[in-house]
Symmetry: none
Subunit: 242 residues, 4 copies
């Protein structure tokens, strides 16, 4: 009360907290309804503040969306780097697997939001998203890949961006498929084999050692696991006849 004249640390952090609350609310509503479908009224309500208050933090709905996008992609990039830094493995393929696992899961969880980002790429839109967000994010892969080449883990003649297309491309496509089947109540595809498969493909194609090494095919152990899973499915099916 007495701190009116002197903006205390508390006040500043209070503002930051409220800004975060707004962004959280905005993100949730934007994901649920898309940009045009989202209502400022609903965002304000979810943030627990008045409608007008948003406008003292962001100039317009479009600005708010941009801020949400910014935080989303920055967060993604940071997390991806964190995941790799804290990965147990320190070799290229170990880290690649960690990155793939993280990316696949992220896309599955945020598929609506990522679609929304793509949609805003339109030029005539009032919300024209900069491509830098995405560029920064995929740079995580680029750094990993180049370091792998430097350390001799990867073939020197491998072309970065072709590898990148395959990595992100197939993961995202898988993610959409998995998300679709999840939504339909079925869960036939697991995330783990997709990641393992992709890493194996990278090892085979871009690995510095022998070309054939990685193509070992399924081991007895993995076969056993597959049979186990199938057994479960059949059991589930059997129960349907009760």
């Amino acid at each position: 009360m007495a701190s009116k004249a002197v903006p205390s640390e508390t006040q500043r952090s209070k503002l930051q907290r409220k800004e975060r609350v707004i962004l959280d609310a905005a993100r949730a509503i934007f994901v649920d309804h898309g940009f045009d479908g989202a209502r400022m009224h609903e965002i304000a309500r979810r943030a627990g503040i008045g409608e007008g208050t948003i406008y003292s933090y962001y100039e317009s709905k479009a600005e708010l969306m941009l801020a949400v996008l910014q935080r989303f992609w920055d967060g993604l990039t940071l997390e991806a780097e964190g995941v790799m830094a804290s990965a147990q493995a320190t070799d290229f393929f170990g880290r690649l697997e960690a990155l793939a696992r993280y990316h696949l899961n992220t896309v599955i969880v945020n598929v609506d939001f990522i679609n929304l980002t793509f949609a805003l790429r339109r030029d005539n839109s009032e919300v024209s998203v900069s491509r830098d967000h995405l560029r920064h994010y995929v740079a995580v892969f680029d750094r990993l890949f180049l370091r792998g080449q430097d350390r001799g883990e990867l073939r020197a003649d491998a072309v970065l961006w072709r590898a990148r297309d395959i990595f992100y491309g197939s993961l995202e496509y898988s993610a959409r498929s998995i998300e679709m089947t999840m939504e339909a109540g079925r869960s036939t595809r697991e995330q783990t084999p997709v990641v393992e498969d992709l890493v194996a493909l990278f090892r085979a194609h871009y690995g510095a050692h022998s070309k054939d090494e990685a193509i070992d095919g399924p081991t007895a152990a993995s076969l056993s696991a597959q049979i186990e899973r199938l057994t479960d499915k059949v059991d589930t099916l059997s129960k349907r006849f009760d």
Copy 2:
């Protein structure tokens, strides 16, 4: 009297022509501004007709969008099949290359529209997009792949949908990248090497001459493939109970 019951050929084709004009205009405006951003007024103007006229062809904006989507994906599927049928090569990899080339180019040209399709909410929206459009389209690849396996051109233990994810996923990712660099004035990446690279990857990974193939008797790999296929069958069966 006869002209009353039976609309003359001229009349019918005139209606069909107008329908096409509307769909063309709608597609252009939808791509430029998104579904919510598109204005019926502008679509009508671009089609050179009155606003009300659209509503005697399509019940609502959403219906119109759906019709545009339908035509787009159906056309894509038909063209893809045509491309493969008329490909000079008749072997798997030759046809795969034709399909890849067609798909890559298509995505580059229609990237905005494809983004738009993705952005349409599957739920919570008045435009509920059926997944069948996409499913039909990717079935072209599926048929090609299975035929390749039947004819012994591909490894029997290759998993269809993992191959599909890599194929469409990396092509679409490449397409977006290419489209981005094209737009930026640079054209560092050519389409041809991307396609050739992908086909080479497929040949190396899924080609029948891979190392395990020659060994007699049921190998672990072929066993695994058998299990995989059986799993699919059980899944299909399961779906029947939904």
Copy 3:
């Protein structure tokens, strides 16, 4: 076909028939949906003709409505006169009863349309109904009443328009009430006693003879009928408990 140049009698009557078909259709739709709620499209469909055809008979929707109203009230007036002309009784009260019976039934059947007529009395409406329709119709009563006075059946000092207000007013109010209860599935009020009561009231008030004569009260016969009806009601109610 050959009769193109010479409008035959057939053609003229054909036009009149079509005009009647249009008016019938229009009336039905106007009654069902009101003036603004009625659709020219639906009127045309019900008449079995094209939408544009209506406009070669009537300049606009408002004109059509006016024509419908005209025919309705003219028909009513004609019928009312016909009813009285063909009434068995030739004395004032007999004819009054016939007119009351006809009017009550007419209002019940056409209550929606009559309400519609009242609503169109608005001045700012594009369909401003002339009051002459109604005036012509009530003139039937006026003539009957004046004749009754001339013939000495009615008191010479009775004021025409007060009698008219009571006659039409109470009948219309009763009609609305009866129509309301009919609609609700109940039919507690019969038309006959309402008419008889009103005629009795007229006889007592405006009859030239004695003032008291008509107030005989219910006879034993009518009492018996009332009890009969009540018994029916109780029976109906009893069945509800099964």
Copy 4:
């Protein structure tokens, strides 16, 4: 903080005032143009507010109409009761005259609005008018009449709803006639004689001093009245099962 949760008295009364302004404007426009003919734009302009503001008070045009109706009929009922309560006379006929005078004048003044009420379709429309409004209003007469019977001022065998039809029916018919002649510049009919005439008619017909009254024992008339009342009770009972 206190001003947050509890809107100040000023604020609340301001809202109520605005609500009344909207209802007044709406009523005027609805009367002038009917429900369909009325334009929200014009209502807003007349109320001196923005178009959108109306929608924060009423969900739709239909809701607004309903609110107008509610207020009109509730006000009428209240006023009618007030008029009778404050009437100098305390006997039945004195109060009847006060009620008649009030009703006649009310109908003359509000004839357009009453026509509008009648014209609103009970079915097939988005504005579904409840009959309760009217029912509540006429209950004022019903209570007066029954009390008159209880106090021996009216004949015991008089049938309530026939009297009600005559009372309201003839007054409304007179009101329309008077309103018509007033509008035409002529003012041949005065309200007072109409009311006096009607009261005289009621006195003659339903007054307790009628000829049958004096006779001892249950007359046929009183028997009939008893049956009539019993019938009403059974009807009421029946309605409970709908």
